[in-house]
Amino acid sequence: MLRFVVSRLAQAVPVMFLIATATFFMVRLAPGDPFADEKRIPEEILANLRATYGLDQPLAVQYGRYMRNLLRGDLGPSYKYTGRSVNEIISQSFPVSLELGLEALVLALLLGLPAGLVAALRRNSAWDYLPMATAMAGICLPAFVLGPLLALVFGIWLGWFHPMGWNVASDRVLPALTLGLYYAAYIARLTRAGMIEILSQDFVRTARAKGLPEHVVVLKHALTGGIQPVLSFLGPAIAGLLTGSFIVETVFFVPGLGRFFVNAAFNRDYTLVMGTVLFYAALIIVLNLAVDVVQAWLNPRAREAMG
């Protein structure tokens, strides 16, 4: 198991290197630069700024210096948020995104798993059709529609929650719901499909033939296999929840990393774009690895193969 983890992490090194290189040159291909602003900045000041950040050097030199700093874990200064380093921005804003993402994930699992399970067990009944139709709507409805809708209904009309902000505990509800519903819907559909597949397996029939109570058949014999599709989906889902919260963060004014990321791209804040991309890439690699480990742990055969 340890060897598997170590070798997967070793494989991640060239991947990270490629991502860093590609991003470095791609952001610079985009027209404009960090200091091109609406208001004119005198030539001398601009030159001075560029010299300060080393942007006057040849690209190869900039690249070499960036990679050297990267190896030390230094993501450089932000060009736009003066006086703050990229490391600082990430370490300050990511916890907010992390909290939002985890709350959305818990919500998605709490809603999706039971709904899918019930739908699979009461197939072709109202217990199946109603949650599945809702799930379909949940998948189709984009966050920029759902978010304002929830804010309008629960924030303004009903007044149960603040329509935006990130100050008190109840402010977490609407953003987490907006972010989590899509994943809840997906998880519900995956759970249903997985459980229906497993419940028709021979070994479930064996469990029934043994005279086991239905809840033992479902929870002990069928569930492990039935939620495999959900587990595979959790890797991308968690990554998506942690990185894809930009819209939600914007709608509800949540001070998370997602907002910094997109603003950085608009501002051509090269180092912040690079830093965020690399951070997200590392996050996705680690999450996928974690999901593989959990999945292997649930599947005895794969566990063996990993040594």
């Binding site: 028709s200 397996q201 021979d202 070994f203 029939r205 064996t206 469990a207 029934r208 033939a209 043994k210 005279g211 086991l212 109570p213 239905e214 033992v216 002990k220 014999h221 492990t224 296999g225 649930l298 599947n299 005895p300 055969r301």
Partner: protein, 332 residues
Amino acid sequence: MLLDVDNLRTYFHSRHGTVRAVDGVSFSLGAGETLGVVGESGCGKSVMCMSLLGLIPQPPGRIESGRARFGGVDLLACSASELRAVRGCRISMVFQDPMTSLNPYLRVSTQVVEPLLYHKGLSQPAALEQAIAALDAVGIPDAARRIHAYPYEFSGGMRQRVMIAMALVTRPEILIADEPTTALDVTVQAQILERVRTMQRELGTAMILVTHDLGVVAGVCDRILVMYAGRIVESGTVRAVFGTPAHPYTAALQKSIPALHRKGDPLYTIGGQPPDLRREIAGCAFAERCEFAVECCQRPVELRPLTAEHWTACTRRLAGDITLPGAGTTSR
């Protein structure tokens, strides 16, 4: 009688019509007796067995009629919890494919102790001890250690031994074995059957053995049911049915055993296909493939006694119109 099945009908309702998988089957099983059920694929053998234990997926399946009396309970009409108390405890079942019938996610130990935990109320250590003894009894070497392995670490033959041990661990009164050796190697088949026979004798368990291997039936069973298109066409003692088959279908089945032919002879096959079970069949279901069929075969038929221990559904044989060649049973 230990088990008395009367007029069992199991239909499957689909968009393309109603499939009459089991259509009016009656038989009984005595304590300790071994009953063979033979017939070609799709004739309703497995569905019949699974109907008895309520293992038919409903929908699309439905038990349309019938009674199955087992020790004062009607298995087809009793409550779900009554049925659960019987399954895996007093009536156990072994399935055809050992590769898929064990749960790949759970250790063998977990699976074999389950009947003991849920039916006998044993503690985990006591159940584990009995489970190890059961695996030992079906010939799994080093059972005390192997029991903690996962199913994928066992070969097909060994998995079927696990299935048999699991089925017999509660000392059931009836073991339903649905083609237990079909998926196995020929060399392993004989060992497994022998093991089941030994266990059966030791525990006094009655057995319903579903198979399409007539040789197995001849060697193992006391009585035999021959099924065709969801109905029983002939039943009786092995000696009577194989010695003097009383239904053209049985005779034809026997004729198709390759071992009974001289080397080099063309293999005998029964012409035509089994009937489409979505169609209502008024008369004898075998009539359209039967060399002896005449007009009266289109009228409703029923299983009637030829002698006390030999019944047939062939109208013409019952009337004494035809004589069928006996193949000589155990001369393999």
